[in-house]
């Protein structure tokens, strides 16, 4: 059993890392095409990518949209979860279902729906409209994670805070949020990841001020090039660094 398990593990890791490895290796290709044979190693594609203004602008846009839309989604989701966990409201099962519903709908459909709405109401497409779409997809996630994290322990503390004269806003800010911090951080981080990497909504709901995935898509449409590999490798490097840092700090502590 054991050798078999280890062999399976090894094969699985090869499968999982194969495309990434190829991506990174050929980002150093000293030629125009990222296909074998490897003609030599060069950093020129990285130079090209890092000096590409459009790409860097798109990167900024992505970061902006990811952070703002996630913060909004988390705020809305957290408040809604707090309301449902705290107050017995009529129709709470229906409301919970409604808030979760976007999770079962393909991003493409959400994007098309918003496009239909925006074009019928004459809203001009921009980074903000894409941001609205990202809040829609991340709100259910933030709501579900917040709701699942709420328990007796923190509700008892909220009750005590209220008893001691805290207003609802103070309860949320001084007690609920800090006590649920690990879950909220996880929700925020996941949201940022999803928004950062989201393509179809950003593609259909932006015009000129595009996000990184859309910019990468148009790079891809402008041809197979090691520059695309370089962008991909850089994104990978940055994300992995972030994941490792978070893993070593926030989430490890959160589990203790």
């Amino acid at each position: 059993m054991k050798p078999l398990a280890w062999a399976y593990l090894a094969l699985a890791y090869v499968f999982i890392f194969l495309p990434v490895a190829v991506l990174v290796v050929f980002s150093f290709q000293d030629g125009r095409l990222p296909v074998p044979p490897l003609q030599g190693l060069s950093l020129r594609w990285y130079e090209k990518v890092l000096s590409d203004g459009d790409l860097m602008t798109a990167l900024g846009h992505s970061a902006l949209v990811a952070v703002i839309s996630s913060a909004l989604a988390l705020t809305l989701g957290f408040l809604a979860a707090h309301a449902l966990a705290r107050v017995h409201l009529p129709g709470s099962a229906v409301m919970r279902g409604l808030l979760i519903a976007p999770m079962t709908v393909s991003y493409l459909i959400i994007a098309l729906g918003l496009l239909a709405l925006f074009s019928q109401t004459g809203v001009r497409l921009s980074l903000w409209t894409a941001g609205i779409g990202h809040v829609v997809i991340n709100l259910p996630l933030c709501f579900a994670i917040s709701f699942a994290a709420m328990g007796d322990h923190q509700q008892a503390a909220e009750r005590a805070a209220r008893d001691l004269g805290a207003s609802e806003a103070q309860v949320l800010w001084h007690v609920s949020a800090p006590m649920l911090a690990p879950a909220l951080a996880a929700a925020f981080f996941l949201s940022v990841t999803f928004s950062w990497d989201e393509f179809i909504i950003a593609f259909l709901l932006t015009r000129f001020d595009v996000t990184l995935p859309v910019e990468i898509w148009s790079m891809l449409k402008s041809g197979l090039s090691p520059a695309t590999n370089a962008v991909g490798s850089l994104v990978f490097l940055v994300s992995v660094t972030l994941v490792v840092i978070l893993e070593l700090t926030t989430f490890r502590k959160g589990r203790a």
Binding site: A156, A157, R162, L164, G165, A166, S167, H174, V175, M179
Partner: protein, 332 residues
């Protein structure tokens, strides 16, 4: 810093169940009242109504003469020490204690001083930079108490605050609780199901059963002169002898009809009320007393529990004449 509490005809219904049924009670300012009863008797419900965590279906609650209808917990002159303490795990002890003051907008230095003062009051001077998870159960309980008292409540509500402590610690805390109440003079309303705890700390005990007040009075009265059979049984072990028109199967004669209730320690070789001869079934040494069980010769199927002095060494199967020193006849 203290206020009286008046509860007028308060009822509380949840769907099909009645948690409180027309309860009226007056608590004097500065009094230490214990609500005592088994789980589900309505004592915690009553506490929650006073604290404002729920509103009564009917009736009125006044604190310091002010009607509390529609007043949120935060706006009431009450604070609560919760059963699980509900300390804020992400704050230090001092921050926990100062929380209510912070919510009231008090300055940092001022509330820090007050927190120190309160921690000293509950016997936790220094060490205020620790967090709740670093404390023992008894220490957490003290912090919860300090936190609730820090905001100068008129009425402190305690929801089984000692329930989570082991017996020894509980007895020690009872004494301290009583002492602290004396010092601050705040009205304490304390919920417990432990009758010994109630007797140890209460100025007055309110015995509750099935949403109603079964008995109330100073511990001595409630113990020795219970007004209901429920109260008599809940306050401690009791021997019950049915009496019909002044006659009982043991020949004892008390005027009236009902249940003659006698505490085990009120039975002995001497007393005002003869219970007739009884045979010793068994006896066990309990430290403070010897607990003996007798079967009256008149009714050998009955058992009378008797607390004999520590020094007594009754012979097995011996027969003794038993007398009751104090007793109460309750209607059934």
């Amino acid at each position: 810093m203290t206020a009286d509490v008046t509860i007028l005809h308060v009822s509380q219904h949840y769907a099909a169940t009645t948690a409180l049924d027309d309860v009226s009670l007056t608590v004097a300012a500065g009094e230490f009242v214990v609500l005592l009863g088994p789980s589900g008797c309505g004592k915690t419900t009553l506490l929650n109504l006073i604290g404002g965590f729920a509103e009564p279906s009917a009736g009125q609650i006044l604190i310091g003469g002010r009607d509390m209808a529609g007043v949120a917990p935060a706006a009431r002159p009450t604070t609560t020490v919760f059963q699980d303490y509900a300390l804020f795990p992400h704050m230090t002890l001092a921050e926990n204690v100062a929380f209510g003051l912070r919510m009231r907008g008090m300055g940092r230095d001022e509330r820090r001083a007050r927190a120190q003062e309160m921690l000293a009051l509950v016997g936790l001077p220094g060490g205020d930079d620790r967090r709740p998870h670093e404390l023992s159960g008894g220490q957490r309980q003290r912090v919860a108490l300090a936190r609730a008292l820090a905001v100068w409540p008129d009425v402190l509500l305690l929801d089984e605050p000692l329930g989570a402590l082991d017996l020894k610690l509980r007895r020690a805390m009872q004494d301290e609780l009583k002492a602290i109440q004396r010092r601050v003079g705040t009205t304490f309303i304390h919920v417990t199901h432990d009758q010994e705890e109630a007797m140890a700390i209460a100025d007055r005990i309110v015995v509750m059963n099935q949403g109603r007040i079964a008995d109330l009075g100073p511990p001595r009265d409630v113990y020795l002169q219970p007004k209901t059979l429920f109260s008599a049984e809940f306050m401690g072990e009791i021997n019950k002898i049915p009496v019909h028109a002044g006659h009982s199967p043991l020949g004892a004669s008390v005027p009236g009809t009902g249940m003659l209730c006698i505490r085990p320690e009120a039975i002995g070789p001497t007393g005002s009320l003869p219970l007739g001869p009884a045979r010793l079934l068994d006896a066990a040494f309990f430290g403070t007393h010897v607990r003996a069980r007798y079967a009256p010769l008149a009714r050998p199927d009955w058992v009378l529990t008797v607390h004999l002095p520590q020094t007594a060494r009754p012979e097995p199967d011996s027969v003794a004449e038993l007398y009751a020193q104090s007793y109460v006849l309750l209607e059934t």
